[in-house]
Structure formats: structure tokens, C-alpha cells
Amino acid sequence: MSGKMREGEREKGRKRTKGKATEEGREKRFILGRIFSMTLKSSGIYGVLAPLYYLAEGLFPAAETVLYAEFFDRAAAWVLGSGEAAARLSGSGEAAARLSESGGKISGLLGGGEAAARLWLCVGLLAGLYLVRSVLAITGSIAINIGVYEKLSAFLKEKLAEKCSRLPLLAFEDAKVHNQCLRAEECVKQEQISGAYMLSIVLFSCLLGVTASGTVLASYSLLIVPLAGISVLPHFVRVRVLGKAFYQMQKEQTVSRRKADYFWQTLTMPGSVRELRMTGASGYMEEKWAAENGRVQKELDHYRRREARYASWCAALQTAGTGISIGLTVYLAVQGQISIGELGACISAYSRLQDKVREFLAESGKLQEKLRFAEDYFSFMALAEEKDGETRLGHFPEEIRLENLSFRYPGGAYPAVDEVNLTIRKGESLVIVGENGSGKTTLTRLIAGLYPPEKGQVLWEGKRLQEIRREDAARWISMIDQRFIRYLLTLRENVGISFVEKMGDDRRIRQSLKEAGLESLKEELDDVVGKLFGGRDFSGGQWQRIAIARGLFRPGELFLLDEPTSALDPVLEAEILQKFLQVLKEKTCIIVSHRVGLCRYADRVVVMKKGKIKEVGSHEELYARKGEYWKIYNSQSQWYQQADVTEL
């Protein structure tokens, strides 16, 4: 479903920008600009060193070609003993003059002839060239790995996490925002932005390399360059055509693939393997898997062979291009139009040039994709953040009033909370009961200000909760949620995270653990908890009790307890619920519970049905009324009563 929605959005996005291709282009450049400025900001000097290395790398092949040509020519001149080559060399101006000067020194040292000295000079220059390249490679590599990938990624990840925590909680209920978040995470995880930065530099380096090598080759013969260039073009066509075909195939296969993966999972996951074995249905599942997998594999195979065919033809064409170029060069050399040294240097320069062009063509396609990912990231980062209120509140209010409070989840057909009116007095305990989906949990979240009301308002001492500073309201609230979190941190952090200021207070933490019935826990407070990081794993019940300790650790006034004991066994549940009522006697408590029996110990009971409050009152009042509450209460106590009756 999420996949579908994503596609839909893409579709919409495409339609919107179709007519404004130029604007899209500007947008893309804009994104690249943002990527560059962000990289320089987060990676500093590393962000500059990385491209420097690639610029040098782009120029290197041309320099190599030139140097080798000279080297070979001097060698040829030596062998042939003809004055022609030497004359050509000394005639080439200042550089040659400097060469011969330093060559003179060397020849002096070696005691050989001038020509030999020049040969040795070339050896030295070559070694120098490689030395420079090696030094650059090492600094470049450090800069790329640390600066661009590590630092930038860490920077982006941190910004993303911060952004998530600043979004209104409700945003996470919105499938669209959720998908956007997933895509932004994907972008960061796959290092797409760092990739885009590096790729644009690599592409530039390729262009530079092609231009430089092309210029050098063109200076030998103008014919060679277009030949070497054209012979690579089929690769470009191949990349485009096959890329499209592959994308198409992937798209058509998504359903089959998803099914095959799903059936595969049922055949390999412990939970399902166990069941299939008992029922003897694994053969049935395997058939289903084999059908989907067979289809996918067949199509993949078809594609792979097609790709192999295309690649082979392109390679043949490229080789033909190389062959003709080499033939032509040899012909030119024999004709005396170029020197033997140039011939030698050209031969390896062709394949280098072709490789560069090929690389450029192949990589340039990827930039688009990376920029699309980057776009996802930036658009997520641009989402509106939660606004903080401005009203100050110095104390916990005497009453919290809900007025005509309505709330609907994004995309929800019905309001989850519908026209609710209720006044909660300081110090009272309230139990909310009702069927699954009747809006109990949503109501507690509205009271805590985690969701904004759609209609009506939550008033804390007459002030609208949305307008009170978050900090001023939150300091009074503690919660124990049904979907409590298992923090895979230390035991201390698991409890103390609800009140970070006092996290270091061992006695206080132990006290909370004791209140949650965990005094016998063997773990030290600073032991890491949970299997993922090498700690001991707790049972569901123990985790829930840790969550309870966490809720009790916070010095709140308003306790929101949402099914706080659902994972405990009945004996323990009774114990803990009773302890709650004891410990929280003075506090304002709102408890959501399936355990209707608890209502007898609360000040008031709220019965909810389909988002509305059906009944409010004490257990005795409501039971006497023989309405909704009476029904729920009896359906639960029925079994116990029956048994008691038969016993009597």
C-alpha cells in the first residue's frame, strides 16, 4: 500500500513539473548547490581536498601520454641515431631548453652522452609524476572517506534525527509523512548525498580527462579523436536502453518479487516453519514460492542474456574503433606523419580515452537518481515543525477541562474522539474503559497535548494547552504506555530517562524499581539491557515493569497510565495495580484499562464508545444504572461469578 502511494506521489510530481522542464533543471542545480554548500560546511578542508585530487586525476592521463611520447621518441632517436628526433625535441622552446639544461647536469654525472641523459631525465620525470599521484591519492582517499562520507553522513543523520523529534507527533500518523521520512532515511543510509557530491566531481574529472587526452591526441592527428569517441557511443545507447528495460522489468516484477520473498520467508522463519510442519502445508507453500520465483528468475535470466548480448556487440564495436584507430596511427607513423614515440603513447591512450568516455556516460545516468534521493531528503527537512506555545504556567492546574473535544487521525473516516466534555480535578483518579478502538488512548494523548485537537479544546486552568509552553506543561506529566519502549541502553537509563536530571541518583532509581516489583533484579544499574547490545534479555512482563518504574521515577503530577499491566500475569497485575493506587494516591491519575475490576478503586469511571463518552461516574453509580458499564462489567465477571455460584 505504501508503495502504491509513493508511486502516486511520484506521478503527481512528474505531472506538476512536466510543463516546466527549465524550472526543474534550475531546481536540480539548486539541489547540487545545496549539497556542495552542506559538504563544505560539515567536512571543512576535507571537502576541498577531495575534489582537488579528482582534478589532478583527470589531468593525469594526458600528462602520462605526453611524457611517454617524449620518452619513447628519445629512445627511438637513440636507437635510430637519426638527428631528426633530437632536432624536433630541442626545437620546442623554453621547456626543452630547461630539459636539456638539467639533462646536461645528469649527463655530466653519468658521464654519458646528452641523448642518454635525456632518457634518464624522462625516467626521473615519470617517477616524479607517479610520486605526485601517489601522494595525492593518499590525501584524496583520506579526504573522501573521512570528510565526505563519514562527516557528511554523520551530519545528515544527526540533522534528520533532530528533525524527526521536532515534527508534531501527529505527523507520524500521516502515511505520507511516514513515507517521506522513510525515503529521507533511505537517502542518508545509502549515502546518496555524499555520493552525489563525489559523483558530480568524478563526472567533472572525467570531462576534464577526456578533453585533455583528446587535445593531446588531436595534436598528433585530428582523425583519431572522433574515431575513438564514436566507437564508444553504442555503450551510451546500451546504458540508456538497458537501463530503461531493467527499470521496466523491476517495476513489473515488484508484485511477483514481493510474493516470492514473502513465501520464502514463511518457509524459512522459525514461527511459520514450525506451524507449516505441524499442518504439513510446507509443500503447498513451496509450490507457491517456486511459481513466483521461477517467473522472476526466468525474466532475470532473459534480461541478463540480453544484456550480455548488448555488451558483447558494444565491446566489438569499441574494439573495432580501437583497431581502426591503431591501424590509422601505425599508417601515419609509417608515412612519417607522427613519430614512433607518439605511436607508442597513442596506443594506450586510446583505451584510456574510451574508458573515460564510457565511465562518464555510465555514471552520468546515476547522478539523476542520486539527486532524486537528495530531493527527498531536502523536502523532508522542509516539513513544518511543531510550534511551541508561549503562555507560561508555573504550577500544576487545579483542573483540566475538555470542551467539545474532537479529534480525527489523518485520513481517518471517523473521529477517534468525538465531542468530549470532561473535567478532571487535581488529585482524582479516573479509569477509562471501553472496547478496543473506542478512543481511550487517543483521549489520554490529547490530555497530554501530544496531539492537537481538531475541534474544541483542552484547557489547563482555563489556558489552551496548545498555547502553553511545552516545557511548562510536560514537566507535570508522566506516562506509562501500553506500547512502552524497551530502551536497549543501561538499566539506569531505562528508568532514569523519564527524569534525566536525577538519573545519577542510585537510591531513587532502586526505589522506583522496587515500586514496580523489580527489587530482585540482579543487574547492576549500569549494565546494558537487551540482546542486541550483548545484555540480558527480559521477558515481556519484566520489560513492562521497567516501563512502570520509569513512569514512577518522574516526579509528575498527572499520570497517564495506558494499559500499564497488559503483559503481566494476573497475580502480579493485581499486586502492581494496587501499588499504583497507593503510590499515586495524591496524584492525578488517568488509567486506561481492560481490567474493569479496577474501577471499584478509582474515584470516577469514564465509559467510552466510538469516540464518545457514554457514561461518567463512580463504580457504584454506574453499576446501579445498568447501562453500558454494567454490561462490560458483567461480561468480564461472568465466569468468576458462575464458578462462585456453582461452588456455593
Partner: protein, 582 residues
């Protein structure tokens, strides 16, 4: 390492012999062609320089280029064939083994990791490994060829090249391994960062963290870990780059040596211009070989662990099938006869000389605290594990004598962590007995028994997100489906593990009533936290510390005033007074 490589070859050749072998051979030949072209090039240049007959050497040289491309093309086709074979046959083999493995392999952490790796569909990775080994062989062939070619020029070059090759490979390999080890060592920190980042984008966690005002604390933890990771990476990268630096240095020395020897020989008149140019031209690829070789080597040595995982997987012992016992005993129903059990690798007895019988036609409720051994009883009954001591009888036969199919036909089980099949409602229920897939009556009965009669309207609606029009069920709906699956097909034995855990308490009593009806005439075991469920059973077994602590009817146990009576009292206390006041 060598054994692992042999194993890899064995796995791949067992699925596709012809093309896999051909691919290896082609790679070797392609490797040899590179140095060969150096020799041909030298002839071509000599011919061009002397103005001699240059057409034939040219054709020969270009011909080699084409032959090389041809070989590479053939190799691509071979690769496609091998991948196809691996993509279809290897997973099939894996599933078959999964199906036959004893359950304990899924639960023990060591073997579970192996299974997870293997379940990650290793075909493509294994092939990549195979291909990488091929590339190493190909490059090694090239290197040997170059050794020969430069040896023709001077023995010193052969020696120098060999030294450079080994030194460079050793250094690069060390650098790569160093980085790989660093990454491995940091997976813990990475995982922690992912985990912390995940908390900060998780809806439920954020609800808590915002209330507790603890977001900045978590961001702080995240940053601390991230800083540590980057610092270590910087150090690690420094060390790795130092090793690379040494490798580069060796490369420069080698190039210097090569050029110097060539110049020396040339000036001494002992070398033709053709050889001079062609060998120096090839120098770049000669030098590059060291880098690629160590790159492949490092990848292979890291990935070989996958092969080892696969080997461990292949060596897991499969579960034995059933066997017939001579004659049959008179122990009917379900009998646990002096059964003890400790999980593999643990000395703690989860079940301790447990004895009880579920009489034919009777429903037994199994109650007890968390960890009293309730779920272990079910696991043994389903033969997910074998008892360490004692025997279990079903229908008068040792359950070890049942084949798996036989046991499945007799016993319907709904586990607490039941599976949610993204199939149709009909299939979800009928997986209990696929022979009756089309039997509407049987489906109706099973759904009725699980209080899921409303699903009859949508028998052929796909569930889950696999299909576009798939419908999603709530936890309670899925659970009722799982119970219906267990009840389907009129099996004489029914095992229900916490069958109402995901059900709305308001609907629970209806479920119990339905169970009571559908378990009539069958033998059943029901495990439940909620004691109300015990009241509808014929008898109740209370487990404590793996032993049968109390056994009897609800009334009997209440009268006994033992564990059960206490539990009952605690649970029903919530309701006692209300009843009186109402």
C-alpha cells in the same frame, strides 16, 4: 580458507557443472591474452619503426583484442546460465533442508544466526564469490605472463616484478583487512547509532520521550557514539593509508627499476625499440594488477564466511522420521510419562519428571506462572524438541513413532505467536488440512468454533499487504483465524496456546463459549493466563517449577485452597465486591 573455496566450488558445480567450468577456463585464457598482446605490440612497433611489413603484425595485434572481447562475451553468457541455475535450484535445496531441520536449530542462538544468513538467499553472493575467485585466477595468469615477458628482457625485471607484486599485495591486503576489521569492530557502535536514530523517529518512542523531555538526552547519546566512530575511522584510515603509501612506494620503485633497466639495455644496444615501447606501455596494467588482485583477495577472504555459514548449515543434522512400534499400548489420550526436559546447553530442568494424562474427550486447562513450563509442554507435544527423559504417548503410541504428517493430521495447534499468512481467508484456515480446501462445510464449522463466523462472507478475500486489494485484519481477527486453522479438519486433538491473548476482553466470554462447543468430543489442551478460561475446561493442571502441582476440576482445586485457589482469588477479587454491591 582453502577448504572453504573447495566447498564453494562444490556447491556451485553441483548446480551447474558445464557452464561454471567453462567460465573458469575462459577467465584463465582471457588473463593470458593480456601479456601476449605486449609481445605482439612489440613486433608491430618494430615493423612500423623499420618501415617493414607492418600489416600482418597489425592484424595479429587487433585480432587478439577481438579474441579477448569474444572470450569475455562468452563468459557473460556462461555467467547468466550459472546465475539462473543458482537462483532456482539452490534456494529450493535450502527450503527442503529448512523443512527437515529439528526445531532446536531455530531457537539456539548460534545456529539461528547461521539460519538467518542462509535464509538471506545467498545465490547471488555465492556466485559473486565464485566470480571473484575466477578473476583472481585470471589476474594471476596475467601476472605470470608478464613475469615471463619482462624476464625475456632481463632476469632482474622478473625478480623485481615478483617482489613488487608480493609486497604490494601484502600491503594493500593489510590495509583493506584493517579497514574491514575496523568496520566489523564498529558494527556495535553503528547498530547503536541506528537504534538511537530509530528511537528518535519512532512514533511511540517519541510520545514517551517528548513527555519525559528526554529528546536532547538521546540526541546527546547519539552524538557521543558518532564522534567515537569517526575518531576511530580517522585513525583506522590513517593506518590503512600508511600501508597503501608503502604499496605505492614499492610501485614507484618498480616503475623506476623497469624504466632504468630498459634505458640501460637500450643505450647498451641490447634492446629493440619495439620491446622498449610495448613493455613500458604495458607497465601501467602490470602495476595495476597488484591492486586489483589484492582487492579481489580481500573481498574473497571476507565473504568466505558466508560459505562457512552455508557449510555449517549443510552439516546440521536433520530430524529423524517416525518409526513403527511393535504392538500398541493401552495409554489413550495424551500421556506425559515421567517427562523431563532441559533446553540444549542449559542444565536447568524446565520440566521435572512431569506426569499427567489428558483422557480422551476431555479438555485440560494448563495454568501456571510465567516460566512454569506451560509452553514447553506444548513444544514437546508438537515434537519441536525431544524430552531429555521420559516418554510422551498420543493415542496409545509413543509420539516418536508418528511421522510428521501423521502427527499433523491428528493434532491441530494454535500457537500463541501464530503466523499471519498473507493468503486468502480460505487458505489461512485450510492450511490445517489442505485436502479439504474446497470443503465449505468444514470451513464453516472451523470458523464457527473460533467465533469467526463473519469471515465466511469473505472466504476468498486475500489478507495482508501482498495483494493490492488485500485486507488487513486486527490482532484479534488474526488470532481467531489461527484458532480456526487448528480446529479445521476434525482432528481429534486440539492444542490452544493463549487463544484469547489478542482478543478484546469484552468478546472473550463469547470465545470461551464457542470453544466449549467445538471441543466437545475432542481431546484438548488449553493454556491461558486468564483463569476464566480454566472454568470451561473439564480439568485443570497447575504447573509449578516444571512439575504437576495440582490437578483436578475447578471445584476440586478451589476446595483444595492451594495455588490455583489463590490465583483464582486474586483474579476474581476485582469482581467479588462489585457483584455484591450491584
Amino acid at each position: 580458507m582453502f577448504r572453504s573455496i573447495l566447498w564453494l566450488f562444490k556447491i556451485i558445480l553441483s548446480h551447474e557443472k558445464k557452464y561454471a567450468c567453462l567460465e573458469m577456463v575462459l577467465m584463465l585464457v582471457a588473463g593470458v591474452l593480456a601479456p601476449a598482446s605486449v609481445l605482439l605490440l612489440s613486433q608491430l612497433i618494430d615493423a612500423a619503426a623499420k618501415g617493414g611489413l607492418w600489416v600482418y603484425p597489425l592484424i595479429l595485434y587487433i585480432g587478439t583484442l577481438f579474441v579477448r572481447e569474444g572470450i569475455l562475451a562468452l563468459r557473460r553468457f556462461c555467467g547468466a546460465r550459472v546465475l539462473y541455475a543458482l537462483g532456482t535450484k539452490l534456494p529450493e535445496e535450502i527450503i527442503h533442508r529448512f523443512d527437515r531441520l529439528p526445531h532446536r536449530f531455530f531457537e539456539e542462538s548460534g545456529s539461528r544466526d547461521v539460519l538467518e544468513q542462509v535464509a538471506g538467499k545467498p545465490s547471488a553472493q555465492l556466485y559473486e564469490l565464485y566470480q571473484n575467485i575466477g578473476l583472481i585466477l585470471s589476474d594471476a595468469a596475467s601476472a605470470a605472463g608478464y613475469l615471463f615477458v619482462v624476464g625475456q628482457v632481463h632476469w632482474l625485471l622478473s625478480a623485481g616484478y615478483l617482489f613488487f607484486l608480493l609486497f604490494n599485495m601484502g600491503m594493500s591486503f593489510r590495509a583493506m583487512r584493517g579497514m574491514a576489521d575496523l568496520y566489523d569492530a564498529q558494527t556495535g557502535s553503528e547498530r547503536r547509532m541506528d537504534y538511537l536514530g530509530g528511537l528518535l523517529s519512532d512514533r511511540d518512542a517519541l510520545a514517551e520521550l517528548k513527555t519525559f523531555q528526554a529528546v536532547p538526552y538521546l540526541v546527546g547519546l547519539w552524538r557521543e557514539t558518532a564522534d567515537k566512530v569517526i575518531r576511530q575511522r580517522l585513525e583506522g584510515t590513517g593506518r590503512a593509508q600508511a600501508a597503501y603509501g608503502a604499496a605505492y612506494g614499492a610501485g614507484i620503485l618498480w616503475m623506476g627499476l623497469l624504466a632504468a633497466v630498459m634505458v640501460e639495455l637500450l643505450t647498451a644496444g641490447r634492446l629493440g625499440i619495439g620491446t622498449f615501447i610495448s613493455v613500458l606501455n604495458g607497465a601501467a596494467s602490470l602495476t595495476g594488477l597488484a591492486g586489483t588482485l589484492s582487492g579481489y583477495g580481500s573481498t574473497v577472504s571476507r565473504r568466505l564466511s558466508l560459505v562457512n555459514q552455508y557449510r555449517l548449515f549443510a552439516e546440521f543434522k536433520e530430524a529423524a522420521g517416525g518409526f513403527e512400534l511393535p504392538g500398541s499400548c493401552s495409554l489413550s489420550g495424551i500421556v506425559f510419562a515421567d517427562v523431563s526436559f532441559a533446553y540444549p546447553g542449559s542444565s536447568r530442568k524446565v520440566l521435572d519428571h512431569l506426569c499427567f494424562q489428558v483422557r480422551p474427550g476431555e479438555t485440560l486447562a494448563l495454568v501456571g506462572e510465567n516460566g512454569a513450563g506451560k509452553s514447553t509442554v506444548l513444544k514437546l507435544l508438537c515434537r519441536l524438541y525431544e524430552p531429555t527423559e521420559g516418554k510422551i504417548f498420543l493415542d496409545g503410541r509413543d509420539i516418536r513413532s508418528f511421522s510428521r504428517g501423521e502427527l499433523g493430521r491428528r493434532m491441530g495447534v494454535a500457537f500463541q505467536d501464530f503466523f499471519r499468512y498473507s493468503l486468502t481467508v480460505r487458505e489461512n484456515v485450510a492450511l490445517g488440512n489442505l485436502d479439504l480446501l474446497g470443503d465449505e462445510k468444514a470451513l464453516e464449522r472451523a470458523l464457527l468454533g473460533a467465533k469467526a463466523e463473519e469471515f465466511q462472507e469473505c472466504l476468498d478475500v486475500p489478507l495482508g499487504k501482498l495483494e493490492e486489494d488485500g485486507r488487513d485484519f486486527s490482532g484479534g481477527q488474526w488470532q481467531r483465524l489461527a484458532v480456526a486453522r487448528a480446529l479445521f479438519g476434525e482432528k481429534p486433538y486440539i492444542i490452544l496456546d493463549e487463544p484469547t491473548a489478542a482478543i478484546d476482553p469484552a468478546a472473550e466470554s463469547g470465545m470461551y463459549e464457542a470453544f466449549r462447543q467445538s471441543l466437545k468430543g475432542r481431546t484438548g489442551i488449553v493454556v491461558s493466563h486468564r483463569l476464566a478460561s480454566a472454568a470451561f475446561s473439564d480439568r485443570i493442571l497447575v504447573l509449578e517449577h516444571g512439575q504437576a502441582a495440582e490437578l483436578g476440576t475447578h471445584q476440586e482445586l478451589l476446595a483444595k485452597k492451594g495455588i490455583y485457589a489463590h490465583m483464582w482469588q486474586v483474579q476474581s477479587r476485582w469482581y467479588e465486591k462489585g457483584d455484591g454491591e450491584g
